[in-house]
């Protein structure tokens, strides 16, 4: 059932990316229509707008969720591709370890960045 568990979370992460990624795209590219997410006005990636979003807890939560979902979805897919190249069990364990450690490191770093930006 271990693969079922991973597969299920892979699907759920895909759904989360669909929703949160859509929100991201709306925020970035529909700033003229969806001005609520860009309270400073102007371009979506202007410093004022970025800072304004970073100070909102809901955006911090969304950033962290999107980061986690994207990392899990992408790294699980990469692991599947690598494992299907006919590598041995030892190499599979190595690949798993590298991806888990790398994924966790990126997640911690991204989470820290999102939380730290809130305090700026």
């Amino acid at each position: 059932m271990r693969e079922t568990k991973f597969w299920t979370w892979h699907l759920l992460a895909g759904c989360a990316i669909l929703i949160l990624g859509s929100l991201h795209m709306i925020t970035m590219h529909l700033d003229g229509v969806w001005g609520l997410l860009n309270p400073a006005g102007g371009h979506a990636i202007s410093w004022d707008n970025v800072a304004a979003r970073a100070h909102q807890t809901i955006f911090v939560v969304i950033y962290i969720l999107l980061l986690g979902a994207a990392l899990f979805h992408g790294l699980y897919g990469l692991r599947n591709i690598l494992c299907e190249l006919g590598i041995g069990k030892g190499m599979r364990s190595f690949v798993n370890a590298v991806l888990v450690i790398g994924g966790l490191a990126l997640f911690v770093f991204g989470t820290w960045a999102a939380i730290a930006a809130q305090a700026v």
Binding site: M1, R2, E3, T4, K5, W7, T8, L11, E84, G86
Partner: protein
């Protein structure tokens, strides 16, 4: 054979040969076969063996697409040699090789044991905790026609191995169970008489299980019996995901119906003949 028969012609058979005792690698050998309309690929192989090369080896049994023995790669596609007419697939050249994704025992004979071992590991029989069918053989299971249709098409599988030969995931990942074993897991999982899902899900949800399937769908395209293993695998994925999320319906296996106590024997029916062997 009447060579004047309308449509009769010579077909070039290019056959993949491999004798592990004498050869270091497989090689092709050409034979010219005089083909009459209606001849199957298997008939052509028999003609080669009887008239040209008695050492050619392949596996066959029923000659009618039931036993699943004569699966081979015919013009690049896994098919049964016995129900493939030569003139339906070529008018000049016919290439024949053993099924890919299997070890070759000799010539056109693949080693199907890994496939059968995986099939057996999925407990392809009715499994229940509450009833031993061998103890109560006269009882019948209550199953509606609708419940039967959930697994009926998957029970038409003849275990020929064509689906595994066509599967691109099998070609890359030898730990993958393959379409036939997984489809048979599903066939029993959705059978209302069965209660073995919790045992099978450990394998089907494991490293070589359904999560490895990319849904290329070639298994279903090549199946000579019209079974849809790709569908079975996707349905089992769904069952496993719903089970993990605790959204699946947890039903008990269907009940059995014992002999009707009000049934009366009709008059005029003769008694069964005595047993020919001693009964315990």
């Amino acid at each position: 054979m009447d060579s004047e028969h309308k449509g009769a012609r010579d077909i070039l058979y290019i056959v993949r040969r491999y004798n592990p005792v004498a050869d270091t690698a497989p090689h092709n050998q050409e034979f010219t076969v005089h083909v009459e309309p209606g001849m199957t690929v298997l008939d052509g192989l028999h003609q080669i063996k009887s008239e040209q090369d008695p050492t050619l080896a392949w596996r066959f049994s029923c000659r009618m697409g039931v036993c699943g023995s004569c699966g081979m790669l015919i013009n690049g596609k896994p098919m049964l040699a016995c129900n493939t007419q030569i003139m339906h697939v070529t008018d000049r050249v016919l290439t024949i090789g053993p099924l890919p994704n299997f070890e070759i025992i000799r010539d056109l004979v693949p080693d199907l044991r890994p496939m059968f071992n995986r099939h057996i590991s999925g407990m392809p029989n009715i499994r229940r905790d509450d009833i031993d069918p061998k103890v109560t053989p006269t009882d019948e299971y209550y199953q509606t026609p609708e419940e039967l249709t959930r697994f009926l098409q998957f029970s038409y599988c003849i275990k020929c191995g064509c689906c595994l030969a066509a599967c691109p995931t099998m070609a890359m990942d030898r730990d993958y169970y393959g379409p036939m074993p997984l489809a048979q897991f599903h066939r029993y999982n959705v059978d209302t008489r069965d209660g073995g899902f919790n045992e099978r899900k450990k394998i089907a949800g494991g490293p070589g299980g359904v999560a490895r399937c990319h849904y290329a769908g070639e298994c279903s395209n090549v199946c000579p019996k019209g079974v849809d293993p790709a569908r079975a695998i996707q349905l089992m994925k769904r069952n496993l995901v719903f089970t993990y999320l605790k959204l699946a319906k947890q039903g008990q296996p269907c009940k059995t119906i014992g002999p009707d106590p009000h049934a009366k024997r009709r008059e005029g029916i003769p008694e069964a003949p005595p047993y020919t062997i001693a009964q315990k």
